[in-house]
């Protein structure tokens, strides 16, 4: 156990560029490494990725392990897992952190099982215990109703996937220096029965609520699918994106890509308007970092009122039409 030293992050490269989650990982990774007085390493896997390694050093890495091969062009769980295991076995890090993207959440459990170690999924916070120097992994549990602190006492490396968009991207510092190590992947890494046939872009998925300045979200209080039009209308008036609670998605009122919360997306807009959303912790986990939160709900005891900056206890079907009317008039007045 003691021979494992340092923190390793798993960088993500897609569509010809480093994904921002890579820099979020380096931000938290740097903090963990500094607390341990250890080095921060990252592994970069892909095709034609070599020239991007320096950027990872600017963002805080001390060492970058690069696996550059045409056969890494597309993500295949097996080959990527083999590659990460190959690096881990050679550098023996104490901690490995990847992002909780579809890639990270697929490849890391494979890695964990291959190494017979623990993996904590979708953490919202990572830290070092000042006493035992172990990785403190915090994640929502029981459907997001509670937060759990998890440790990996006897197995190394300690591994976690980190929910995207929680930590900021590490600052870029071009005066930083570090080592770039090119790893020649052994042939067995590429043994797989999976073939990638193609990729189909889905533009509807790219209406990015994660990047929107204003998000209007609807929940169970809307009662039926047709009423969700009110949310779309309000979002349109405000120039915002549309979000939803899990209940609304489960009822089939709106596609999953709009779901905000623990099992959906995380947003932190300047303004978040929750309409007919009670505010289960499952939902709050996805929007609590919003700058301003407005809640409209008819239940005065709804937990959403405990986390809002402005709340109206009332009937959304009365309030929304008036609100839209007044906002429209205001806009016309300005124009």
């Amino acid at each position: 156990m003691s021979e494992h030293v340092g923190v390793l992050t798993v960088s993500e490269f897609r569509d010809g560029s480093l994904q921002p989650v890579s820099f979020e990982l380096l931000n938290v990774g740097r903090k963990l490494a500094d607390k341990l007085g250890a080095k921060l390493m990252t592994v970069l896997i892909g095709y034609k990725v070599k020239e991007h390694a320096m950027e990872l050093i600017y963002r805080g890495a001390d060492e970058v392990y690069v696996l550059d091969d045409k056969r890494f062009k597309d993500f295949i769980a097996e080959t990527y897992a083999n590659a990460i295991v190959h690096v881990i076995k050679n550098v023996k890090p104490e901690i490995v952190v990847a992002s909780a993207t579809t890639t990270g959440r697929t490849v890391m459990p494979k890695v964990a099982a291959m190494l017979r170690t623990g993996l904590t999924a979708d953490c919202t916070s990572l830290d070092i215990d000042p006493e035992d120097k172990m990785l403190v992994q915090i994640r929502p549990a029981i459907g997001g109703n509670v937060m759990a602190t998890i440790k990996t006492p006897r197995h190394r490396p300690q591994m976690a996937t980190l929910r995207p968009k929680i930590y900021r991207e590490a600052e870029r510092d071009t005066s930083r220096s570090g080592k770039i190590i090119e790893v020649k992947p052994p042939e067995h890494i590429f043994e797989t029965r999976v073939k990638v046939l193609g990729f189909r872009r889905d533009l509807s998925q790219e209406i990015d609520i994660e990047k929107a300045d204003i998000v209007v979200a609807g929940g169970k209080g809307l009662k039926k699918k047709e009423n969700f039009d009110l949310i779309f209308e309000l979002a349109k008036v405000l120039g915002g994106a549309v979000g939803a609670s899990r209940a609304a998605v489960d009822h089939g009122w709106i596609p999953y890509s709009h779901q905000i919360g623990l099992s959906g997306k995380t947003v932190s807009p300047r303004l978040y308007i929750a309409v007919g959303i009670s505010g289960a912790i499952q939902h709050l986990a996805g929007m609590k970092t919003s700058e301003t939160v407005v809640a409209i709900n008819n239940d005065p005891d709804a937990p959403i009122f405990k986390v809002c900056d402005f709340g109206i206890v009332g009937d959304l079907f009365e309030i929304l039409p008036i609100l839209m009317e007044k906002l429209k008039r205001l806009k016309e007045g300005k124009a």
């Binding site: 006897r154 407005v294 206890v313 309030i319």
Partner: protein, 318 residues
């Protein structure tokens, strides 16, 4: 037209009849002998593929979870759940996994084994699976398994799958609504040494040994092909699960549910449960988020909206 009638119309359908099929009541012995010879003759033709397909063995992994639609109340001081009587249901995504297995069975013929790991009450999940059309149900249940994390769970399930023996395809939901980890599918793939396809929203059999599938990932769909055996984790977009029929429900009532212990699957109790789990929950606390803002009543909606607009303007948001 059933398959016997199809045979009488056209001898090329003889391969559809398997030895396990009940004899047709209106076909006499000599005609049955003729069919048998036809079967032998056809076995080396292209229909062989269809014959193999008919033997596709599918394993579906299903979990019992607390009803995700019931909001759990937590004691903010202790972090303990206040209302313990939350109904247990089948993990919603696992129903999509079973539905996909049933559709394959209907199209090509298949044998579906469902495995659930959990306390004795998880038997309800398996009865539901039988009611929907699964052929065999196994409950992996042992006190030694309590407290297993994803690694220990995946290990135990892998051993159970190995005990089932032959399989072509393993299906399960992307994740369970209680743990929300999504780790068990990929971890099992490592233990069994088979490919894993995650986030699957569309699945098709290309031929008897190959699947083509679509993964919902950031920005679109990755289209992948894998040779079997493989494990697939599905998302809700893949299908719309059916409801059980009355006949299915009746069948499920008396269906045999096999129960396996860790000894049955050859697992050392020290490798599962709390002891066999690398991760430890050291603290649980209520996720309280404090941000006390101004709350206004909505008895006068006009006034409430005016106040809201004033607030938004003050903050420069409109």
């Amino acid at each position: 037209m059933n398959k016997w009638e199809m045979c009488r119309e056209n001898p090329h359908f003889h391969h559809l009849i398997r030895s396990s099929d009940p004899p047709h009541p209106h076909i006499n012995g000599s005609f049955r002998g003729y069919l048998f010879v036809c079967g032998i003759l056809h076995i080396f033709t292209s229909y062989y593929v269809v014959l193999i397909m008919a033997q596709l063995k599918i394993i579906v992994l299903m979990k019992q979870v607390p009803d995700p639609n019931v909001e759990v109340e937590i004691d903010e001081k202790t972090g303990v759940i206040k209302r313990e009587k939350v109904e247990a249901v089948v993990n919603p995504l696992d129903l999509h996994a079973l539905e996909e297995a049933l559709r394959i069975k209907e199209k090509y013929g298949a044998h579906i084994t469902v495995i659930s790991m959990g306390p004795p009450m998880a038997e309800a999940v398996l009865r539901e699976a039988i009611a929907l059309g699964a052929d065999r149900a196994i409950l992996l249940s042992d006190r030694a398994l309590a407290g297993s994390d994803t690694l220990a769970t995946s290990y135990a399930l892998s051993k159970a799958i190995e005990k089932v023996g032959e399989y072509d395809l393993i299906l399960c939901g992307l994740k369970a609504t209680d743990g929300e980890t999504g780790q068990v599918g990929p971890e099992i793939s490592s233990f069994l040494g088979i490919p894993v396809l995650t986030y699957i929203s569309k699945l098709e059999l290309k031929d008897s040994r190959t699947i083509v599938a679509e993964r919902i990932v950031e920005g679109g769909y990755q289209i992948v092909e894998a040779s079997l055996p493989a494990i697939v984790t599905v998302v809700r977009e893949i299908n719309e699960p059916r409801l059980p029929t009355l006949r299915g429900k009746i069948k499920a009532k008396s269906a045999e549910i096999e129960t396996w212990t860790v000894a049955d699957i050859g697992v050392d109790p020290r490798n599962v449960g709390l002891e066999g789990s690398p991760t430890r929950v050291v603290k649980v606390y209520s996720a309280k988020i404090a941000r006390r803002g101004r709350i206004v009543g909505g008895e006068d909606p006009e006034k409430a909206v005016d106040e809201l607009i004033k607030f938004l303007m003050e903050r420069g948001l409109i």
